[in-house]
């Protein structure tokens, strides 16, 4: 199997420390970040409100639980995950933050039960509202070879409140991270037909959403695709049970088939303990009657990834080990 070399990072050293050094050289008297600040991701509040959404059920007349009878079987050939990290480098006189952001993604391929890096992307950039940053500073930053992202056009990016500018930077970085993930996922789906487990949804990019080898596993449930009795059914799922398959669609995303799957017995008060939502390519009309079998098959694959557990990660109840491994890798390289 041919291995794909890691993508080349930006030519200039664009790491956080290099950016700090650059700014310190440009503005010796200014208060520049020291590196001890926590990432902005830990400070920013989630903006998406929790909600429930009704969904079209593809498999059954109504939402119900299906026992996955066949034993788990490990079929995923690789795992994909991305991460991002951002820190404020400097605050201009009007409070406008200049943010350093790193977006990264990796595919870790499983060979002989061990995970190896297939390909990874790490991109460092500087995010700021160009209109509010002194022109000379923007110019000097651009001349240094660092890649700049103007957040002026992003949602809230041009507002006067520094937090709005900061959130705009984070959202822009998030899109960059998703782009990195999509790049890797597309590349896999173009070259491979072996199953790839993607941490998160697959509907964001059409070739991936339509690929039979991409399986998305979503751990966060701020949007629940069930209401009323259907929601009760989902919360009542026991270990090794899945919900009926339903369709997830929106105007700006490719429709996919999805279902809920309980990886571990519910413990404590959290109804979503051990609960993941799975996304696979939506079947065409002729194949809709086989979606149940497909859901059983993929569920068996995911249940097989429940061991080894992803402890000590706090989300270990929902996180498969391959994804944790991706996160550990990315933590080491960014």
């Amino acid at each position: 199997m041919s291995a794909i070399q890691p993508s080349s990072p930006t030519q200039a050293d664009a790491s956080f420390r290099a950016a700090v050094r650059l700014l310190a050289s440009l503005m010796p008297e200014a208060a520049i970040a020291t590196g001890s600040e926590p990432p902005l991701e830990t400070l920013a509040q989630a903006t998406e409100p929790p909600r429930t959404v009704g969904a079209i059920i593809l498999e059954d007349p109504a939402m119900r639980a299906h026992r996955v009878f066949e034993p788990p079987v490990a079929q995923f050939a690789a795992f994909l995950d991305g991460t991002q990290a951002s820190r404020t480098l400097y605050s201009c006189d009007d409070g406008t933050p200049i943010v350093h952001g790193t977006a990264a993604a990796v595919i870790r391929e499983r060979r002989n039960m061990r995970l190896y890096t297939r390909r990874h992307i790490v991109a460092h950039r500087i995010y700021a509202n160009r209109r509010r940053v002194p022109a000379w500073l923007w110019t000097r930053l651009a001349e240094s070879g660092m890649e700049l992202r103007d957040t002026a056009e992003d949602d809230g990016g041009d507002g006067p409140h520094p937090f709005a500018a900061r959130d705009a930077a984070i959202h822009r970085l998030q899109r960059d991270r998703e782009h990195a993930e999509h790049t890797l996922a597309e590349d896999w789906c173009r070259r491979e037909d072996r199953p790839l487990l993607i941490d998160g949804g697959i509907s964001g990019v059409e070739p991936v959403a339509r690929s039979s080898c991409a399986v998305g596993v979503i751990k966060s449930h701020r949007t629940l695709y069930a209401e009323g009795d259907a929601l009760v059914t989902i919360f009542a799922l026991r270990r090794g049970e899945r919900s009926s398959v339903f369709r997830v669609a929106s105007d700006w995303r490719t429709p996919v088939a999805s279902w809920y799957l309980r990886l571990r017995d519910r413990a404590g008060t959290d109804p979503m303990w051990g609960l993941v939502r799975v996304e696979v390519a939506h079947p065409d009309r002729a194949g809709e009657h086989t979606i149940g079998a497909r859901a059983d098959e993929v569920s068996r694959w995911i249940l097989a990834e429940a061991t080894p557990v992803s402890l000590p990660d706090a989300r270990w109840d929902k996180m498969v080990y391959g994804v944790r491994d991706c996160e550990e890798f990315l933590r080491a390289v960014i």
Partner: protein, 661 residues
């Protein structure tokens, strides 16, 4: 994953097997560094590696050589409990996991050498390579004594790791002297490691000792069993051993020149050695000493309670004025004494004491009668305690001091002797070696003395014996004379630290865990200790002045018949009558001798006389053995019974006498 291949500084394409890592909690220092490897790397405890730094120092890329002393392996588990939870408490469930946890092999290496050596800096980050043969040379500073016009390398074994098969050399200047000297080997009993290692190293020394440094011989004390009794007989070795011999350039052969020495048994005519089989007697000589030889070392056999100042004065008087001198004294009348043997001395004592008794004297020449009796008792006792070694007749059969031969092993078999006799032999032989080396007339320039069971002869605690004092002196001053101590013991911690401390080279075979727990091994890492406790036969850990860290090597089985095999193949001769014993000894000089001739020659003579004649013949080694042997026997006066005078014939009655009866 594609295999990364780098071109090292040597120019050859080699694959790095690890990367140096350092954290604040586990930093690298100038003497220690850490690196990780792939899970399947051939690195293990004792592996020598080379680090290539990334950043030049003074224009030179630093290269650091290290030896792995500790290894760690762990996964990303925070606690073992997480694994239990992950498998619902069922160990069998672990096999169902689709993925192995991320796992690390992290090693700690002790620095052997840094290039450049100045400035001495902490080990930098860099790639780690398996050491090649050349790297091993540099890492162990062997390049200093293996290159140039006068190489002084003595192979001690082969370092083997990950495909590297490099001979390891000791520096003869630091093994035999004069820079440092002495070798000590320690290890548990029963694995034949200690004896085998000594035999192998002697063979290596004989093959590689530089001509320019002169000649070398070995004197080995066989203190137990048949260990050293068959050094001249070929043993069985396999192909792996042969390749090790080849690698080290040592011929896989038994020792060419070996001379054996053993005292007699108390009967005075059977050799007290396991090498008494008639087929092997060609190079076995007896070891017997007389009064003069023993009296010099009286303090070896007499403890401090025996020899107080008064007794010491009398012994000194006897040594100076009596032994081998014509002695007369008014007390003893006109009788002249010339004391040469224990028998003569006993006669002298008897006469002195009876003369004092007759005259009612309490003292003689300032010596009190009680002192004289005590010294008589102690000295007379020596010939009993060391029977077979010490002769009453004063006959001496000794090592060839003055005509030692180069590359020859002289084995003195003391295995079956009493402790006193062993001490006496050791003390006298070492002293003689020392005296001759001081005078430069031993016949060789260097002598290696091998002593096993050193914890018995030079223990850490216990009384300060003459033998221990000699060993300390040998360890501390022997190297200046060319007198080198190779010693072995099971427990190094129980040997006097000045003896082991003066051993420039130390070898370790498999060790006992209790021994490894003693403070002397505190410098070794736990992993090295475990490796020592589980060493295979044929493996050693070597410490040498040039090596900054201990090195593990393999050495071949000696190409010598093992003691056990030899004892089976050449069983010890059964004790025989005097005539057969005499024949057995004299046949080594003249194979044509027969038992019938010996019996005829001995006739009805006393055993002592026959033994004396036999000993004299063996000492003299004459061309005509028969003639010489017979000349040593006093002629027997033939008794001619005078003819009986004829008695007058009884008159007989006439045959026709009717009254005759």
């Amino acid at each position: 994953m594609t295999e990364m291949r780098d071109v090292g500084l040597t120019g050859a394409a080699v694959a790095p097997l690890g990367r140096v890592v350092a954290t604040e909690r586990k930093p690298n220092t100038p003497h220690e560094f850490h690196f990780w490897t792939a899970l399947d790397s051939p690195v293990g405890i004792g592996t020598i590696v080379r680090v290539e730094g990334d950043q030049p120092v003074n224009g030179q890329i630093p290269q650091i050589y290290g030896i792995v002393v500790e290894g760690f392996s762990y996964t990303d588990l925070a606690t073992p409990l997480h694994d239990v939870l992950g498998h619902d408490g069922t160990p069998g469930g672990a096999s169902l996991a689709a993925t192995h946890r991320a796992e690390i092999r992290l090693y700690t290496a002790a620095v052997l050498r840094q290039m450049p050596e100045e400035p001495l800096q902490p080990v930098p980050m860099g790639r780690v390579y398996l050491a090649t043969d050349d790297d091993v040379w540099v890492a162990l500073r062997m390049d200093g004594y293996l290159k140039g016009e006068n190489p002084t390398g003595i192979p001690v074994g082969v370092y083997r790791a990950g495909g590297t098969d490099a001979p390891i050399y000791l520096d003869a200047d630091f093994l035999i002297g004069p820079e440092a000297a002495h070798l000590n080997i320690t290890g548990v009993s029963g694995l034949a490691t200690k004896t085998s290692a000594i035999e192998w190293i002697l063979a290596s020394i004989f093959a590689h000792f530089p001509e320019k440094k002169g000649s070398v011989a070995a004197v080995c004390f066989n203190v137990k069993g048949p260990d050293l009794c068959f050094l001249d007989q070929p043993g069985q070795i396999d192909e792996a051993d042969k390749s090790l011999y080849e690698k080290c350039g040592v011929p896989a052969e038994p020792f060419e020149h070996v001379q054996y020495f053993a005292p007699y048994k108390p009967d005075g005519f059977s050799l007290n050695t396991l090498r008494s089989n008639e087929q092997l007697l060609g190079n076995v000589s007896s070891l017997t000493w007389g009064l003069r030889e023993v009296l010099q070392y009286a303090e070896v056999l007499l403890n401090k309670d025996d020899v107080d100042a008064k007794a010491d004065a009398l012994i000194d008087f006897i040594r100076e004025r009596i032994v081998d001198r014509d002695f007369t004294d008014q007390l003893l009348g006109n009788k002249s004494y010339r004391v040469r043997s224990f028998a003569d001395l006993e006669e002298w004592f008897r006469d002195v004491l009876s003369a004092m008794e007759n005259k009612g004297n309490e003292g003689w020449r300032t010596h009190h009668v009680a002192t004289i009796r005590k010294v008589r008792n102690r000295l007379s006792n020596i010939s009993t305690r060391c029977a077979g070694l010490v002769t009453d007749d004063g006959g001496v059969s000794d090592l060839p001091f003055g005509s030692f031969q180069d590359r020859t092993v002289y084995v003195i078999d003391v295995a079956s002797l009493e402790e006193d006799a062993q001490d006496l032999i050791f003390a006298r032989v070492v002293t003689k070696l020392r005296e001759h080396l001081e005078k430069r007339d031993l016949g060789v320039n260097h002598v290696i003395v091998f002593v096993d069971e050193l914890n018995k002869y030079a223990p850490t605690d216990g009384q300060d014996t003459y033998v221990r004092k000699m060993l300390l002196d040998l360890a501390e001053r022997g190297r200046y004379l060319g007198l080198v101590l190779f010693s072995a013991q099971q427990f190094r911690s129980q040997v006097h630290r000045r003896v082991v401390g003066n051993s420039g080279t130390a070898l370790y075979g498999r060790m006992d865990a209790d021994e490894l727990a003693t403070p002397g091994y505190a410098v070794l890492s736990p992993a090295v200790k475990i490796k020592l406790a589980t060493l295979e036969k044929g493996q050693l850990m070597v410490r040498h002045p040039h090596f900054t860290q201990p090195i593990f090597v393999r050495f071949p089985r000696p190409a010598i018949m093992r003691g056990r095999d030899g004892a089976e193949q050449y069983p010890q001769a059964v004790d025989v009558e005097l005539d057969a014993a005499v024949l057995r000894s004299l046949r080594t000089l003249d194979p044509s001798l027969t038992l019938g001739w010996v019996r005829e020659a001995i006739g009805i003579r006393e055993d002592e006389e026959v033994i004396r004649a036999r000993n004299a013949t063996l000492r003299e080694r004459p061309a005509d053995v028969k003639k010489f042997f017979q000349s040593q026997l006093r002629p027997i006066a033939v008794q001619h019974t005078p003819a009986r005078p004829m008695a007058p014939a009884i008159r007989s009655a006439p045959t026709d006498d009717p009254y005759g009866f």
